[in-house]
């Protein structure tokens, strides 16, 4: 384990990974409890459009991913509240629509190569100093939001209307939550990849829910599962030359299966 830490790229990947595990699992708790699980998948694919634009136009792909994912999150909220559409159908349409758009942009720009592949599945080798900086800055802001409003977000997840009648600014906080989720997902695709980040956001919480404990403990268990999966997954990925995102996701799914069996009623 110590040997791998001698490499700069592994240090960068671990810092990024620990940040992302923390953010994904904390925001994931609210996403799962609000039955928003699919939004993470959709935003991950929208982030890919940003990556495609970045790769083709020569901008920083992660910054572009953040911008497009946020715009997509707002579009989802708008469509959901302004038209008579099923919200899961909105998510499904935007998911495939985004992927199609990303593929077209990349192929028109002639950038269909390994670098796109690394954004699909995550690659610890490719995390740059700049990426770490972006993750730390945006990640800290997102973390601040989640910690400041965790009680309100929990109340909204429990019962949106009762929260509203208690004076909680439900619409505003919903809007901020999807924005923060969009940012977190865009930041994650470097390490975990856009096809796999949804799993890191949703599965640690679903695994933690199996233990049937209160809010705080559910969050802490979910955080622990996410951190463990990211660190253990990256270690395996280093020693066996496996793609990092896929290894991390298999770790977290293993934890989920164990949790499910341990708590079988």
């Amino acid at each position: 384990m110590l040997e791998m830490l001698e490499y700069d790229f592994m240090q960068r990947a671990l810092i990024a990974g620990i940040f992302i595990a923390t953010l994904a699992s904390l925001s994931g708790t609210f996403v799962v409890l609000r039955r928003y699980s699919l939004i993470s998948e959709t935003l991950a694919h929208s982030a890919l459009v940003g990556v495609a634009v970045g790769l083709v136009a020569g901008y920083n792909p992660m910054w572009m991913a953040v911008v497009i994912a946020i715009l997509s999150a707002w579009l989802i909220e708008y469509l959901r509240s302004s038209f008579a559409l099923y919200s899961d159908a909105v998510l499904a349409i935007l998911l495939s629509g985004s992927l199609a758009l990303a593929v077209i942009i990349v192929s028109l720009g002639g950038a269909f190569n390994n670098s796109l592949f690394s954004y699909l599945f995550g690659s610890i080798l490719s995390v740059s100093d700049n990426d770490v900086l972006t993750i730390v800055i945006f990640g800290s802001l997102s973390l601040l939001f989640l910690l400041l409003f965790s009680k309100e977000l929990y109340f909204i997840a429990y019962d949106e209307e009762v929260a509203k009648t208690s004076g909680v600014k439900v619409n505003f906080l919903n809007f901020l939550l999807v924005t923060v989720v969009a940012i977190i997902i865009a930041l994650s695709i470097r390490v975990v990849g856009s096809l796999l980040i949804g799993a890191l956001m949703v599965i640690p919480t679903v695994a933690a829910l199996q233990y049937r404990v209160g809010f705080k403990n559910t969050m802490l268990i979910s955080l622990f599962f996410a951190l463990f999966s990211v660190i253990f997954g990256m270690t395996l990925s280093y020693y066996f030359s496996l793609p990092s995102g896929a290894t991390i996701v298999l770790c977290v799914i293993t934890i989920f299966i164990i949790s499910l069996l341990m708590n079988k009623r």
Partner: protein, 256 residues
């Protein structure tokens, strides 16, 4: 009545509400004063829940005005003064990760300032609310594992934790056994008498509580207000006064 010198908690004036040209509530006016104990009855689809949703600001009236503590709904900010227990209260998602204490603590959020965690006062209020509802021993239990009656008391404790001046309950006894219901009505009456908390609730079993309630509203698109249900459950005199038909109560009593 000295209560009348104070501003009414709710002042509803000529309120109507319709959805897609279908009238749900028509020209309703009433006032609710501090310390009152009011039951709302009426047939399903008669607009009882809609009326409560209007009072809570969850729906906007098509016409008319609603004042809360003297302020128009849009300007009203002190939501902690109102405790709301919705109809589905007893049906919590069994997997939702919440202990009894987690739920009751939510009641303090309306009073919370940003950047501050639970103060000593918050903790005391949460403790008091659980004590009053007799659920202190359940504090660390997961709500999903409780009985309907226990959950109901948890939901009321949550509403009480913000030290409200009025409790609004929407058919709180749905899915609760008879014994728990009786206990529940005793608790409500006690809160009203001893704590002076105003109580407004929707029910369909008016017979059980007729002794305690001060006024009875019947809602079926229009409202009929019965000021002394003990003496005149028929409401006929009142209905003449208000010019509204009051056939509801009789029908309702025979239904059950």
């Amino acid at each position: 009545m000295s209560l009348k010198f104070k501003l009414p908690i709710f002042d509803v004036e000529n309120v109507s509400f319709s959805v897609r040209s279908q009238t749900i509530l028509q020209n309703i006016s009433f006032q609710i004063f501090h310390g009152e104990y009011i039951a709302i009855i009426g047939p399903n689809g008669g607009g009882k829940t809609t009326l409560i949703r209007l009072l809570l600001g969850l729906e906007k009236p098509t016409s008319g005005t609603i004042r809360i503590f003297g302020k128009k709904l849009n300007n009203f900010k002190e939501w902690y003064k109102i405790g709301y227990v919705p109809q589905r209260a007893a049906h919590v998602d069994a997997n939702f990760p919440a202990t009894v204490e987690d739920i009751v603590k939510m009641g303090r959020i309306a009073k919370r300032k940003l950047f501050s965690s639970m103060s000593q006062e918050d903790k005391e209020m949460v403790h008091d609310a659980m004590l009053k509802m007799d659920i202190l021993d359940l504090k660390d239990k997961m709500v999903g594992t409780l009985s309907g009656g226990q959950r109901q008391r948890v939901m009321i404790a949550r509403a009480l934790a913000s030290s409200p001046e009025i409790l609004i309950l929407d058919e709180p006894n749905t899915g609760v056994d008879v014994k728990s219901q009786q206990r529940f009505y005793k608790l409500l009456a006690k809160l009203n008498k001893e704590e002076g908390i105003t109580i407004l609730f929707i029910t369909h079993d008016i017979g059980v509580i007729a002794d305690d309630i001060g006024r009875l509203f019947t809602i079926n698109q229009k409202a009929t207000i019965c000021n002394d249900p003990k003496k005149e459950l028929s409401c006929e005199d009142m209905s003449e006064l208000y010019g509204i038909e009051a056939h509801l109560i009789h029908n309702h009593r025979h239904e059950h």
